[in-house]
C-alpha cells in the first residue's frame, strides 16, 4: 500500500498552500484533486487579496497568472433602471501586501499546485476521494474504493464548500439552506482594449464592482463584476433560502442582473463563454466545523473560511492562510508526539497568528446583519430615489437635499428608530 506522511484532499488555494507548506517542512505529501487539472472544478468571484500569498511565496508576483491588479473599487446600488455608484480609485491599491488582483481559477490553481509539486508534493488529479479511512476513531488515510486506499499520518481536508468528507468525519453537521448561498458567474469575452477603454484602465489595471439592491431582485445577496485581461467576470451570490421561498431560479436573477442598464454599459457586445455555479458558505465564524480531530484538519471553504461584509468578498486569501496554518500545525503536532487531536489543537493558534480567525470573528456579525432584508430592498431604493430627485432638473421647482432625504425616509415606511438601529448595527458589523 502507498503511504505518505500527509495527504491533502483538494488542490484549490487552501490545499495547495497546505501541501506546499508541508512539503517544504519535509513531510512526504500527497495532494489529490478531483478535477482533471487543478482549478477546473474551482469557482469564485474573481478577486484575490494577496497578503497570504505574500507569506507563502514572497516572490509570487514574478510568475503568478494575474489577470489585472484592482485599482478601481466601486460599489453600486441598483433600482429598476437606475444606479448610484460610489467609486474609489487609488494606484496604491495595487501595491505590496495590500494588492488584490483578478484571476482565473484554472490558471491560478494550476500555478499554485505546481509550486507545491516543485516543493516535493506528489500531485494526483482526476481522482475523487470518496471517504476517509477511519479506524479506532482516528483517520488512517483516504479511500477511493474498497481496494484503493492510501495511508497517511494526517489528512488535511481542503475539499471546498460542499464539505462531504468534513461531514463524514463527523466534524460538521449537514448543511442547512440558511447556511449557504448560491453563487453564479458568467465569463464574458471582450477585447482587452475595449475593457481598458470602458473602465479607464491601464495595461495591468483592473476594476471591481459590488452591486446591491435590484442586482439580486431584492433578495438577500449581491452582485459582482471583475475585469480580467480579456474577459469580465459577472455574477451574483443569492441566499438559497430566499430563492426557494420566492421560487425564483438563480439563472433568471442573473439574466435580469445582466440586462440592467448599469451593468449592460460595461459588458455590451461581449460574449458569454462560460457559466458556473457553486455553493457559498454564508455564516462565517458561525458555521465553522470542528477544525481538527485525530489525524485530520479542515481548511479553506470546507471550514467556512469566507468573509462577505457587503463591500469585500474574501475567500482565497483566507484559504491560503489556513493552508499555511494547517502545515504549521502538523509540524508542531509532530514535535509534540504525533497528529492526535490534542496536538493538532495548535491549528487554532496558527489560524489566529495568520489572521484567519480574528478577521472571521470581527465580521461574525456581518452575515447576520447582511440577513436584514431592508438592506437589499428598502434602503437601496431609498438612496436611488434621493439621487434621482437630486439630479433631476425639470423646472418644476427644486427641493433642498435635507428635505428630500427626510421625505424619502418617510416614504420608505420604515420607522425612524428602525432606520437608526440598522445604521448603528451596520456600522458595528462592518
Amino acid at each position: 500500500m502507498e503511504r505518505f506522511d500527509a495527504i491533502v484532499v483538494g488542490a484549490g488555494p487552501a490545499g495547495s498552500a497546505a501541501a506546499l507548506t508541508l512539503a517544504r517542512k519535509g513531510f512526504s505529501t500527497l495532494l489529490v484533486e478531483r478535477g482533471r487539472s487543478p482549478g477546473v472544478k474551482g469557482m469564485f468571484g474573481g478577486r484575490i487579496y494577496s497578503w497570504a500569498l505574500h507569506d507563502l511565496l514572497p516572490d509570487w508576483a514574478k510568475d503568478c497568472p494575474v489577470e489585472r491588479y484592482v485599482v478601481h473599487e466601486n460599489m453600486a446600488f441598483l433600482a429598476e433602471d437606475t444606479a448610484l455608484t460610489i467609486s474609489f480609485d487609488s494606484p496604491k491599491l495595487g501595491e505590496g501586501r495590500s494588492a488584490s488582483f483578478t484571476a482565473l481559477r484554472a490558471k491560478f490553481d494550476s500555478w499554485l499546485a505546481k509550486k507545491a509539486q516543485e516543493a516535493g508534493a506528489v500531485l494526483v488529479t482526476g481522482i475523487r476521494v470518496d471517504g476517509l479511512w477511519q479506524e479506532d476513531g482516528r483517520i488512517r488515510g483516504v479511500l477511493v474504493a474498497p481496494n484503493d486506499r492510501v495511508a497517511a499520518d494526517v489528512v488535511v481536508i481542503a475539499e471546498g464548500a460542499t464539505s462531504v468528507l468534513t461531514r463524514s468525519a463527523g466534524l460538521k453537521a449537514d448543511l442547512e439552506p440558511r447556511e449557504v448561498s448560491v453563487g453564479v458567474k458568467e465569463t464574458i469575452e471582450l477585447p482587452a482594449e475595449a475593457i481598458q477603454e470602458r473602465f479607464g484602465l491601464g495595461d495591468k489595471e483592473g476594476a471591481a464592482f459590488v452591486f446591491a439592491g435590484q442586482a439580486s431582485l431584492g433578495l438577500r445577496g449581491g452582485g459582482f463584476l471583475y475585469t480580467n485581461q480579456s474577459t469580465i467576470s459577472l455574477g451574483l451570490v443569492v441566499s438559497s433560502e430566499d430563492l426557494a421561498r420566492e421560487k425564483v431560479e438563480i439563472q433568471e436573477v442573473q439574466t435580469r442582473f445582466r440586462m440592467h442598464p448599469a451593468v449592460q454599459r460595461w459588458i455590451r457586445g461581449g460574449k458569454v463563454t462560460e457559466y458556473s455555479a457553486h455553493l457559498v458558505p454564508e455564516l462565517g465564524a458561525g458555521m465553522m466545523p470542528r477544525l481538527w480531530g485525530d489525524g485530520v484538519l479542515v481548511a479553506g471553504d470546507a471550514a467556512g473560511f469566507l468573509i462577505n461584509n457587503g463591500y469585500t468578498f474574501r475567500g482565497v486569501d483566507l484559504a491560503i492562510a489556513s493552508g499555511i496554518a494547517a502545515g504549521e500545525a502538523v509540524e508542531a503536532a509532530r514535535a509534540a508526539g504525533g497528529p492526535r487531536a490534542a496536538n493538532l489543537q495548535v491549528y487554532e493558534k496558527f489560524l489566529r497568528s495568520r489572521n484567519v480567525l480574528p478577521d472571521l470573528e470581527r465580521f461574525r456579525r456581518a452575515p447576520l446583519y447582511m440577513k436584514n432584508e431592508r438592506l437589499f430592498d428598502v434602503y437601496p431604493r431609498m438612496l436611488l430615489e434621493i439621487a434621482e430627485r437630486l439630479y433631476t432638473v425639470d423646472g418644476s421647482g427644486k427641493e433642498r437635499l435635507a428635505d428630500i432625504v427626510l421625505r424619502e425616509a418617510g416614504a420608505a415606511e420604515v420607522p425612524k428608530w428602525k432606520l437608526l438601529l440598522d445604521l448603528l448595527q451596520g456600522a458595528r458589523s462592518m
Binding site: E2, I127, D148, V150
Partner: protein, 274 residues
C-alpha cells in the same frame, strides 16, 4: 505442470496496446489523406482497453503480473501511464526512429521480438483491431512469429487448470475454445467496461520507474526488417466521405401546421414513405 499451477512465479500476462487519436476527434488531413495525429487528443485503442480489462480481471483472480507493451513515439507514454494507473504492473515501450512508417508486417515482427525479450509470458492479449487502421493483422501476426496457438475475437477469458478457455464471437453465435499456455487471444471491442485509473495506480506512475523505453538495438531487432521501406502495404488512395449539403428549409408557424408541412415535404422528397 503448467505455469498457472506453479508457485515459482506468478502468471505473466502481456497486453499489447496502441495509442490512437480519440474516435470522436478523428480528422483526415485533406492534403495527405492520412489521419491527423498531431494536436488531437489520444486514447488507448478502445479494443486494447477491453483486452487490458480482461488482463486486470485475471490479475484480480490469479494474482497475475500484467505487463503492457506498445510500439511508437514517446508520446505513447500517456497511454502506458494510464494502463499502469488502471492496475498494470509495468509497461515497455519499443521506441525507435527506424520503426517509423512500419505497417502491420514489421510491427508484428518487432512486437514479437520485444515479447521474447520480456520473456516468461503465459498469455498475450491484443485488441481485435485498432480504430485508426482496422486491419486486425497484428495480433495474429505476433502469434505467427512466436508460433503460439491463438483464439481470435474473444469476449471472455478464463484460466482453468493451467489452460486458457475463451469465449469466441462467431457470426452465428459464440464458441468456447480451450488451449494450452502460452497462447494469444485477440479481444472484442466493447466486450467489457475498462476500469478507471486508481489513486494507488496514479501514485505509482508519479513515483516513476514503471515504463521502460527500449530501442531496436536493445531488443535485437533487425533494422532491415522494419520501417517504411520494409512495409509491403501501399496506401494508394483514401477518400473521405462527404455528406450531401443540407436543404436548409426552416418550417415555422403553428406547431400542428409546421409538422404537417414538414411531413409533406419529407414524403415529397421521398425521405419517408407516405
Amino acid at each position: 505442470m503448467s505455469p498457472a499451477d506453479s508457485n515459482a512465479r506468478p502468471l505473466r500476462i502481456l497486453v499489447c496496446i496502441k495509442q490512437v487519436p480519440k474516435a470522436q476527434e478523428l480528422q483526415v488531413d485533406p492534403v495527405t489523406q492520412t489521419l491527423k495525429r498531431v494536436g488531437v487528443p489520444s486514447e488507448i485503442n478502445p479494443p486494447d482497453a477491453n483486452a487490458l480489462e480482461i488482463a486486470l480481471t485475471l490479475k484480480d483472480r490469479h494474482a497475475a503480473e500484467v505487463v503492457v507493451l506498445s510500439m511508437g513515439p514517446t508520446s505513447f507514454d500517456e497511454s502506458l501511464e494510464r494502463a499502469v494507473a488502471m492496475g498494470a504492473d509495468r509497461a515497455v515501450l519499443l521506441t525507435d526512429r527506424i520503426l517509423g512508417g512500419s505497417d502491420t508486417v514489421p510491427t508484428a515482427y518487432a512486437l514479437s521480438e520485444t515479447i521474447q525479450k520480456i520473456g516468461g509470458y503465459d498469455l498475450i492479449l491484443t485488441g481485435e483491431e485498432t480504430t485508426d487502421a482496422s486491419t486486425g493483422h497484428v495480433g495474429p501476426g505476433i502469434a505467427g512469429h512466436l508460433d503460439l496457438p491463438q483464439i481470435t475475437y474473444v469476449s471472455e477469458v478464463r484460466i482453468v487448470d493451467g489452460t486458457v478457455r475463451a469465449r469466441r464471437t462467431a457470426e452465428d453465435g459464440t464458441e468456447w475454445w480451450q488451449t494450452a499456455m502460452p497462447s494469444l487471444c485477440t479481444v472484442n471491442f466493447g466486450c467489457n467496461k475498462p476500469r478507471s485509473p486508481t489513486l494507488t495506480g496514479k501514485i505509482r506512475v508519479k513515483r516513476g520507474g514503471v515504463i521502460a523505453h527500449w530501442s531496436c538495438a536493445d531488443v535485437g531487432i533487425d533494422p532491415k526488417k522494419v520501417g517504411l521501406l520494409n512495409s509491403p502495404t501501399i496506401v494508394a488512395k483514401v477518400d473521405t466521405i462527404r455528406l450531401p449539403p443540407r436543404a436548409g428549409h426552416i418550417f415555422s408557424g403553428e406547431p400542428k401546421e409546421t409538422v404537417r408541412a414538414l411531413l409533406e415535404a419529407l414524403i415529397r422528397d421521398r425521405v419517408i414513405a407516405p
